[in-house]
């Protein structure tokens, strides 16, 4: 399966064929890679300590010392943006890591066993849809203490439902295909069929779903942080920076909110473009 997965991933984004994809997708993919690299190497890239406050440096304009200026506490905005890329990526990553395995497992069980188990899982999915992810995150922040992890875990409930619903319908379709029947006849066990055949065949769809979920989860996490219920100050985060820059807007210094929301828009747009592209390809395969 690993060899298979590798070839599949390779077909989706082989470096040698980047030019074969639409230009927008190539640019979006490049942007994502760039943001991920920035997040990984953030401590090496920040020109100043992102949490170093200095009251006399409040609201400085861009200069050689502070390329993007400073915020209300005199902290270097560029450093905070670079540092903020880490939480911006970490939150959705947690959501994906939780929601994808659980969602896929629930979907396969429901599609395979059918009957009452399918009914129960499908109803649980429906009920999960009734609660917006944001509401769950706010409730979780109220019950536990507000933090990135609590928000991400709470949002995972909704994203698990999304993934499970999409994967279940495709798994049902695959299940009725003759090649699966032929595998039964060869004496394969259910787990062997799942691992070697069903999951690889579902992989393009799962990958597309993961990408789209990542984009939506980025928005949700940033929103929760904006509300003050996610990432907690003084940790730099794009969502909290938008909120912190709010007061400055009235004083004529909109940079902080603008930069942070700009970064969010670029990240979300890039992930969405790639996600749409992967979804199209997954659907073409049907």
């Amino acid at each position: 399966m690993t060899a298979y997965a590798a070839s599949r991933l390779g077909r989706i984004r082989p470096l040698s064929r980047v030019s074969g994809h639409p230009l927008g997708v190539t640019v979006a993919g490049g942007t994502i890679v760039f943001i991920v690299m920035v997040a990984i190497f953030a401590p090496l890239l920040t020109p100043a300590d992102p949490n170093q406050a200095s009251i006399i440096d409040q609201y400085l304009s861009p200069s050689a010392d502070h390329w993007l200026g400073t915020d209300a506490s005199g902290r270097d905005l560029l450093s905070r943006l670079i540092e903020g890329s880490r939480t911006a990526l970490l939150g959705p990553t947690i959501v994906i890591l939780i929601s994808t395995p659980i969602g896929v497992a629930a979907a396969l069980l429901a599609a395979w066993r059918g009957g009452w188990l399918d009914a129960v899982i499908s109803r649980v999915i429906d009920v999960s849809f009734a609660f917006p992810g944001l509401l769950l995150a706010i409730i979780a922040a109220a019950v536990f203490s507000p933090s990135l992890l609590v928000a991400a875990v709470a949002l995972s409930v909704t994203y698990t439902a999304y993934t499970a619903r999409v994967v279940r319908s495709e798994a049902l379709r695959q299940r009725s295909r003759p090649y699966i029947e032929a595998l039964w006849v060869q004496g394969h066990s259910t787990l062997s069929i799942w691992r070697r055949h069903l999951l690889p065949n579902l992989m393009p769809l799962i990958l597309a779903q993961v990408t789209l979920s990542f984009a939506y989860a980025t928005v949700d996490i940033a929103t929760v942080s904006f509300l003050g219920l996610g990432v907690q100050p003084p940790t730099a985060d794009w969502g909290t920076m938008v909120a912190e820059g709010k007061a400055a807007i009235e004083e004529g210094f909109p940079q902080e909110s603008l930069y942070a929301s700009g970064c969010l828009v670029v990240l979300i747009l890039s992930v969405s473009v790639v996600g749409d592209y992967l979804t199209d390809r997954a659907e073409q395969r049907k």
Binding site: V185, G187, P200
Partner: protein, 330 residues
């Protein structure tokens, strides 16, 4: 005859329908000995594929069964999941009509072949590979080693059917169920595939249950041929006997409705009416409404499959056919 490898006794199968149970098989009796080739011939919906599937333990959802299927000493209908898996991986294999639909399109041929024994039988990867190439060679496919790394869409239907046959033999089964393996192929490929099956049968001493709607093909390939109608076997005999001296009016009709070079260019005779489903049989002989020899008792009395001559036949008037005049088609 050697000890029976497969013994189907009075197999009945019904699925839940809109109005209660819908019977699909109405008491199938069939015996296949070790190394023997038996054909089941019948029209669409007569239950021939269903019988083969039942032998593999693959029943439709919610199916109710009666009777028994004994395969290599195991009662299929009573077997647990593990017993069925052992049976499928070691004793019996199946070849389907449409190889393209029955092979995972995104896996390589080599994976398809070797997985059948590495995942189930615990055979090592290199041993499985060697066996796969050996079997591909036996199916006379060109460049067996090269085929291993190809994808199904790169192969023609005939090649894929050979691959599927090779895959079926990976587990060294004693019996092969072939469900219309040549129906989807063109005539020349069909002849090649049949020749391969005949050779493999000899080389591996395979028993084959061959499902087809082609009576001529069945008679040419199989030791014995069974004719199915509306969920029951109506006649069964050594192939040559069945072909030359059919006893059941339905078999007679099937043979007559086939174009043949020897019979001139006269009009072909179709069997009157349409094939009925097992669920529509109300009592009496299922074929009676279409039969040119039917008597009043045929409509009320259900004929049983009884020994007659060299085979068995389920007809109340078995043996009289040569002497009585068939009613003309009104």
């Amino acid at each position: 005859m050697s000890a029976p490898l497969l013994e189907i006794e009075d197999l009945c199968l019904a699925v839940p329908g809109q109005a209660g149970e819908r019977p699909l098989l109405r008491g199938v009796d069939l015996v296949v000995g070790a190394g023997e080739v038996v054909s089941i011939v019948g029209e669409s919906g007569s239950g021939k594929s269903l019988t083969a599937r039942a032998v593999m333990g693959m029943l439709p959802d919610g199916a109710k069964t009666a009777g028994s299927i004994r395969l290599a000493g195991t009662s299929v209908l009573a077997a647990s999941g593990n017993e069925l898996r052992a049976l499928r991986s070691q004793r019996v294999a199946m070849v389907f009509q449409d190889p393209r639909a029955h092979i995972n399109p995104v896996r390589r041929i080599g994976d398809y072949l070797t997985e059948a024994v590495t995942a189930v039988g615990g055979v090592s990867g290199s041993a499985a590979r060697a066996r796969a190439i050996e079997l591909l060679t036996a199916t006379q496919i060109e460049d067996p080693a090269g085929i291993m790394s190809r994808f199904p869409h790169e192969l023609s239907g005939g090649m894929l059917q050979r691959v599927m046959i090779a895959g079926a033999l990976m587990g060294e089964p004693e019996m092969l169920l072939a469900d219309e393996p040549t129906t989807a192929l063109d005539v020349t490929t069909q002849a090649e595939v049949m020749a391969i099956l005949a050779r493999l049968r000899r080389d591996f001493e395979l028993a084959i249950l061959f499902i087809t709607h082609d009576l001529e093909l069945a008679a040419a390939f199989a030791d014995r041929t069974a004719v199915m109608y509306a969920g029951r076997i109506v006649e069964e005999a050594p192939s040559a006997v069945l072909h030359e001296h059919p006893e059941h009016p339905y078999t007679v009709g099937l043979l007559r409705s086939r174009p043949s070079l020897g019979h001139g260019t006269g009009r072909l005779e179709a069997i009157r009416g349409r094939p009925i489903e097992a669920a529509e049989v109300s009592g009496g002989c299922a074929f009676a409404p279409r039969c040119g020899f039917a008597e009043p008792r045929c409509l009320t009395e259900d004929p049983r499959l009884l020994p007659h001559g060299a085979g068995t036949v389920a007809c109340l008037r078995a043996g009289e056919l040569g002497q009585v005049e068939e009613r003309s088609h009104a």
